[in-house]
C-alpha cells in the first residue's frame, strides 16, 4: 500500500514538476500575421511585423459602431540579424512574439536585390514559423506594404495569403523557395506586391498613405484606401532580385510551370477583328521535354488548354465549326504569345531560368547535367524553345449563339 501511495505521489509530482512547461496562453501571445524584412541603413536588417490585435476583432462582444479600430499593429525594429531584430522588438511588445500563424513573409526590394539568403534562414530554422507561409517580394519597402488594411479580411496579410491561394500570382511557399534556392536547375520567382489605391476608405481607421515614389501619377496623393496588390513577379538570379514580370507575363510563367488554375484569354473575333472574345481557362496542362544533341539544347513545350467561351462582343455563329476552329486557333496563338512573352523576358532580358527547365533537362540528361549545372542560366538563355499549344473550347456557357443580334 505504501509502495502504491509513493508511486502515485511520484506520478503526480512528475506532472506538477513539469510546471506547465512550454505553456503559452493565448492571451500572452503577440500573434504575427505578416513579417517583412528590409535593408536598414548601415547594413542592418529591419524587421517589420504585423501583429494581430484580437481585441479589435471583437469576437462576440458588441462594440459601438463607428469606432473601428485597426486589427493589426505594425511595428519595426532593426537588428544585425532577423533574430536579433526580433529580440529588439520584444523590448516594445508586452507579449511574446509568436510566429506560428504567420501568413506572409515579404522581402523589401533593396534587400532582395542584395540577396534574400541573409534574411531567410531564420524562418526555415525557427520551429514555430510555418513552412507553408507565402513568400513575396515588395516593390519598394516591405514595411510600407505591411502598413495596410484589408476591407474584407481581418488583416492585410490574410488578404494577400488568400489571393495567392487562389493562384492569382505565382504562389511560393517557404518550402518552395527553399527548394528553388537549393536547385541549380531553377531560380526563384516570387510574387510582387505593392500597395495600390483601392477604392475609398470605409471608415476613419482605414486610411493609408501610399508611399511616395511608387504611386502612379493619376492616383490621389493621400487619404485613400490601399490594399496589398499582386502586380507581377520578381525574378531572381539565385537569391538576388534581377527584374520583374508584369501580370500578363506572370500568367505565362504560371502556364509554363504547369501551375494553371484559372485564367482568361481574350482574342479578337475571327469575323469582326475589332471585337473581342473572352475564354475562361478551366483546365490545362503543360509538358516540357528537353533535347540535347551534344552542342545545343532545345526544349519542346506542349500545352493543352481547355476553356469555356464566356463572352463574345462579336456576332459570329458559334454553331459554325469553321468559326469555332478559328476561335480555338486564335486562343492557342494568344496562349503561346503570353507564354512567349514571359519566356523572352527571362531568356533575353535577364538570362535566368525561372521555369524549372533545368530540372527537366536534369531528369533526362543526368550525365550531361554535371558539366552544365554551373552555367545553366547561360545555356538556358541560348536554348531554343518550341511551344505547341492545343487550345480547346469545351463549352460556350449557357447559350451557344448570341441571344440577340445587332441590326
Amino acid at each position: 500500500m505504501i509502495k502504491k501511495i509513493c508511486s502515485l505521489v511520484l506520478v503526480v509530482l512528475l506532472v506538477l514538476q513539469g510546471g506547465c512547461w512550454g505553456r503559452k496562453e493565448l492571451g500572452q501571445l503577440a500573434i504575427v500575421m505578416a513579417a517583412g524584412v528590409d535593408r536598414a541603413p548601415g547594413g542592418d536588417i529591419r524587421l517589420t511585423v504585423q501583429l494581430a490585435r484580437p481585441r479589435a476583432f471583437g469576437g462576440g462582444v458588441e462594440r459601438p459602431s463607428g469606432a473601428q479600430e485597426n486589427n493589426a499593429w505594425v511595428i519595426s525594429e532593426n537588428g544585425e540579424t532577423v533574430l536579433d531584430a526580433q529580440r529588439n522588438l520584444e523590448k516594445r511588445v508586452s507579449r511574446s512574439i509568436y510566429w506560428g500563424h504567420n501568413v506572409i513573409l515579404v522581402f523589401g526590394e533593396e534587400l532582395a536585390r542584395e540577396g534574400i539568403r541573409q534574411a531567410f534562414n531564420f524562418f526555415t530554422r525557427s520551429p514555430t514559423a510555418r513552412e507553408t507561409l507565402w513568400v513575396m517580394v515588395a516593390r519598394g519597402k516591405a514595411e510600407d506594404v505591411l502598413n495596410s488594411h484589408s476591407q474584407l479580411e481581418n488583416t492585410s496579410a490574410q488578404s494577400a495569403g488568400s489571393m495567392l491561394r487562389m493562384r492569382v500570382g505565382e504562389p511560393v511557399m517557404l518550402k518552395d523557395l527553399s527548394m528553388m534556392l537549393a536547385s541549380k536547375g531553377t531560380n526563384p520567382a516570387l510574387p510582387r506586391v505593392e500597395l495600390t489605391a483601392s477604392g475609398r476608405p470605409q471608415g476613419p481607421g482605414m486610411v493609408e498613405n501610399i508611399p511616395q515614389g511608387y504611386k502612379g501619377a493619376q492616383q490621389p496623393p493621400v487619404g485613400t484606401h490601399a490594399e496589398i496588390t499582386l502586380t507581377g513577379t520578381g525574378i531572381f538570379k539565385d537569391d538576388k532580385l534581377v527584374g520583374w514580370l508584369n501580370v500578363r507575363e506572370t500568367r505565362g510563367l504560371l502556364w509554363l510551370k504547369d501551375e494553371i488554375k484559372r485564367g482568361v484569354v481574350t482574342v479578337p473575333s475571327p469575323v469582326e477583328p475589332g471585337k473581342k472574345i473572352s475564354i475562361n481557362i478551366t483546365r490545362g496542362n503543360t509538358r516540357v521535354e528537353a533535347f540535347f544533341d551534344g552542342e545545343s539544347v532545345w526544349f519542346d513545350v506542349w500545352m493543352k488548354m481547355e476553356g469555356t467561351l464566356w463572352e463574345q462582343q462579336s456576332k459570329e455563329k458559334l454553331t459554325n465549326p469553321v468559326i469555332y476552329k478559328a476561335i480555338e486557333k486564335a486562343m492557342s496563338r494568344e496562349i503561346e504569345n503570353i507564354a512567349r512573352g514571359a519566356l523572352n523576358k527571362a531568356q533575353l532580358e535577364y538570362g535566368v531560368d525561372i521555369f524549372g527547365f533545368g530540372e527537366a533537362f536534369h531528369r533526362k540528361y543526368k550525365r550531361e547535367w554535371a558539366s552544365m549545372q554551373n552555367r545553366w542560366n547561360e545555356v538556358f538563355a541560348g536554348a531554343q524553345v518550341n511551344i505547341a499549344v492545343e487550345g480547346r473550347i469545351r463549352r460556350t456557357g449557357l447559350t451557344t449563339n448570341r441571344l440577340s443580334e445587332p441590326q
Partner: protein
C-alpha cells in the same frame, strides 16, 4: 471459449467472511435462537413462542378461532399486516374454516388427529400451501407476507401463499428511454420483475434461482440465466461470489455489484445495471447471467463489456443502417465527452498553431477579455455544469424550472457578458455535457470522473499529457476482465464475428452467432439464409 485463466475475485473476502457475522451476535443473545426449534403439538405453546419472537412487532397479527367443523379444535392464523392480500386471507382462509362449510363426508369423522389433513385438502382455497415443522420457517414465511395456519394438535403448520402488498405499478423506464421498443421497466417487487422476464422468455430453460442475502434484511435475490445457452462456469462463478457475501443488508443491487465485481477500484463498471426487462432478456439470450434484487428496479447483468456503453436497446429494434450510424456517432460522442475540454485546454494553451488562423483569431478575440488561464476557465465551467446537473437531480420538482432558468442565465449569458468566460469555452463545456448523456449512464459517470484528471494533465503538459492520460486509460481497460471476459472484447482481443455488433449493428439475418466469449455454450442464434430475398427458381 472462455478462459477463466485468472479468476478475478474480490480479494480477502474469504478470510473476512469466516470470522464475522456482521449481523452481530447481539440479537441472538437477547432472544432465543430460533434456528432449530420445532413446532410442538400444543397450539398454545406454539403461539406463545411466536408471540415471544414477534414481540413489539405491531404489524404481526395473531388470529385465533375455532374450526367450524369441530368446535373443539382451535386454529390460529399468523400473518403480517400490510404484506398479505387481506381479501384472500379473510375470504379464502377465514371464511372457509370458521364458517360451517361441509368438509368431511358423512362416513368420515373429523378428529384432532386428522384435522390438518382436512383443512389442507378440503378447507383452504389457496393456491400455494406448504407444510413445515420448523419455527424458523414460520417466522420467515410470516415476514415474507405468507399466512401461517396452525392447527391444534399438530406439530406442523401450513404456510399459505398470500403475498400481496402495495407495489408501484409497472411504469416507463426512466433511466433508459427508447423511441422504439417496450416502454416497461422493472419495479421494486422481485416477483413482478421475474414475471416480466418469464413473459418474454417462455421456456423452461429460463432458470430463476432465488437466494437470500443480508443477515438482517434477508433480501431475496434472483439469479436468472438460460440453461443451455449460458456457460455453466459463469453461473458457478456468480454463485460462488454471491455465496461469499455476508452483510447485514442489501437494499439495492449496487451493494451486490460492489461486493462481487472485478477490479473493485476501477472507475469503469464491470457489471451492467439496467431497469429494462428487454435489455436483460437480450443479455440472457446472449448467454449472460442476470441478478435481480428484491426492492429495487435495477437489475445487474454480467459479464459487462466496454462496448455495451454505446449500445442501447433500440439499436436492435431500429433499422440497422440507422442504428449503425448512431452507434458510430456515439463512439465519437464518447471520445468528445472524455477529451474535448482537455483537448481545448491543450490546444489553446500549448499548441495554438494547430488551429486554422481565422479560428484562432476569433477564439483569441473572445479570450482577450477573460482574466483567467484557459484551464481555470474551463475547470470552473465544468464544475458549474456539475453543480447544475447535481442540482437538477436533487432539487424538488416544483423548483426545477427556476434552477434551469438561473443556470442558463448564469452560464449562457451573464458569464460571457461579464467577460469572465469565453464563448468558445461554453460551447466546449456544453458540447461535452451533451455528448456525455448520449453514452450509457454508468459509462457517462465514469467519463465525467475521468474528464478532470485529463484536464489537469493537458493543462500541465499539453497534448503530451492528454495523450499519456489516454494511454493510461486504454492500458487499464485492456487489462480488465469482467467475469473472465476481456473488457475490450470484441475489439481487443479482436473477435471478427462479434464486430458485427460493436460500433455498428449489422442486420439480424447476418448476426448468426451469439457473442463468441459469452454464449459459447450454444453459438448458433439463427439458421443461415434468413436474408429476405425474392423467390428464385432454383431455390426454395
Amino acid at each position: 471459449m472462455i478462459l477463466f485463466k485468472k479468476p478475478r475475485r474480490p480479494k480477502g473476502t474469504n478470510s473476512r467472511a469466516k470470522d464475522q457475522n456482521p449481523a452481530g451476535g447481539n440479537r441472538e443473545t437477547t432472544e432465543q435462537p430460533v434456528q432449530n426449534l420445532l413446532l410442538s403439538t400444543d397450539i398454545e405453546s406454539n403461539l406463545k413462542q411466536l408471540k415471544g419472537i414477534f414481540k413489539n412487532c405491531s404489524d404481526v397479527v395473531f388470529r385465533e378461532f375455532l374450526f367450524a367443523q369441530r368446535e373443539q379444535i382451535k386454529l390460529a392464523l399468523v400473518y403480517t399486516d400490510g404484506l398479505v392480500d387481506k381479501t384472500l386471507v379473510s375470504e379464502q382462509i377465514m371464511k372457509a374454516l370458521a364458517l360451517n362449510v361441509p368438509m368431511a363426508t358423512d362416513n368420515m369423522e373429523i378428529t384432532r388427529n386428522n384435522a390438518l389433513h382436512y383443512v389442507k385438502m378440503r378447507g383452504l382455497c389457496v393456491h400455494q400451501v406448504q407444510e413445515t415443522g420448523k419455527i424458523q420457517d414460520v417466522v420467515d414465511a410470516v415476514l415474507s407476507g405468507d399466512t401461517v395456519l396452525m392447527v391444534d394438535g399438530h406439530a406442523i403448520a401450513l404456510i399459505n401463499g398470500s403475498r400481496g402488498w402495495e407495489a408501484r405499478s409497472v411504469a416507463d423506464s426512466i433511466t433508459e428511454t427508447v423511441v422504439r421498443g417496450p416502454r416497461e421497466s422493472f419495479v421494486e417487487t422481485l416477483r413482478i420483475n421475474t414475471s416480466m422476464l418469464r413473459r418474454k422468455i417462455k421456456n423452461p430453460n429460463l432458470k430463476i434461482e432465488t437466494l437470500k442475502l443480508g443477515e438482517v434484511t434477508k433480501t431475496e435475490l434472483a439469479l436468472v440465466y438460460i440453461k443451455g445457452i449460458v456457460n455453466e462456469g459463469l453461473v458457478h462463478e456468480v454463485k460462488d461470489r454471491l455465496s461469499r457475501i455476508k452483510i447485514d443488508g442489501v437494499l439495492e443491487s449496487g451493494y451486490i455489484e460492489e461486493l462481487i465485481r472485478d477490479h473493485p477500484y476501477s472507475p469503469f463498471a464491470t457489471m451492467a445495471h439496467t431497469d429494462r426487462p428487454d435489455r436483460v432478456a437480450a443479455n440472457l439470450l446472449e448467454g449472460r447471467v442476470a441478478i435481480l434484487v428484491d426492492g429495487t428496479p435495477v437489475a445487474l447483468t454480467v459479464p459487462y463489456l466496454f462496448i455495451e456503453a454505446i449500445q442501447t436497446p433500440d439499436d436492435y429494434y431500429e433499422q440497422f443502417l440507422f442504428a449503425s450510424a448512431i452507434r458510430v456517432l456515439r463512439v465519437i460522442f464518447l471520445v468528445i465527452a472524455l477529451t474535448l475540454p482537455s483537448l481545448y485546454i491543450a490546444i489553446i494553451s500549448f499548441h495554438p498553431e494547430m488551429l486554422p488562423t481565422p479560428l484562432l483569431m476569433s477564439i483569441a478575440a473572445q479570450r482577450e477579455a477573460v482574466p483567467f488561464p484557459v484551464f481555470v476557465e474551463a475547470f470552473f465551467m465544468e464544475v458549474a455544469f456539475e453543480i447544475i446537473r447535481e442540482a437538477g437531480i436533487r432539487l424538488p420538482r416544483p423548483v426545477g424550472q427556476a434552477v434551469s432558468i438561473v443556470a442558463a442565465l448564469i452560464i449562457g449569458q451573464a458569464a460571457v457578458q461579464a467577460g469572465l468566460v469565453a464563448g468558445a469555452t461554453i460551447i466546449v463545456v456544453a458540447l461535452t455535457a451533451m455528448a456525455s448523456f448520449t453514452v450509457y449512464y454508468s459509462g457517462s459517470i465514469t467519463l465525467r470522473l475521468l474528464r478532470f484528471p485529463l484536464m489537469f494533465l493537458s493543462a500541465s503538459l499539453g497534448l503530451l499529457g492528454l495523450i499519456s492520460g489516454i494511454v493510461i486509460i486504454v492500458v487499464h481497460l485492456a487489462g480488465m476482465r469482467s467475469f473472465g471476459v476481456p473488457y475490450l472484447a470484441p475489439v481487443a482481443p479482436t473477435i471478427q464475428g462479434d464486430l458485427k455488433d460493436s460500433a455498428v449493428r449489422l442486420p439480424w439475418w447476418s448476426m448468426r452467432r451469439r457473442p463468441h466469449l459469452i454464449g459459447q455454450n450454444d453459438q448458433r442464434r439463427e439458421i443461415p439464409g434468413l436474408k429476405p430475398e425474392p423467390p428464385r427458381p432454383g431455390r426454395r
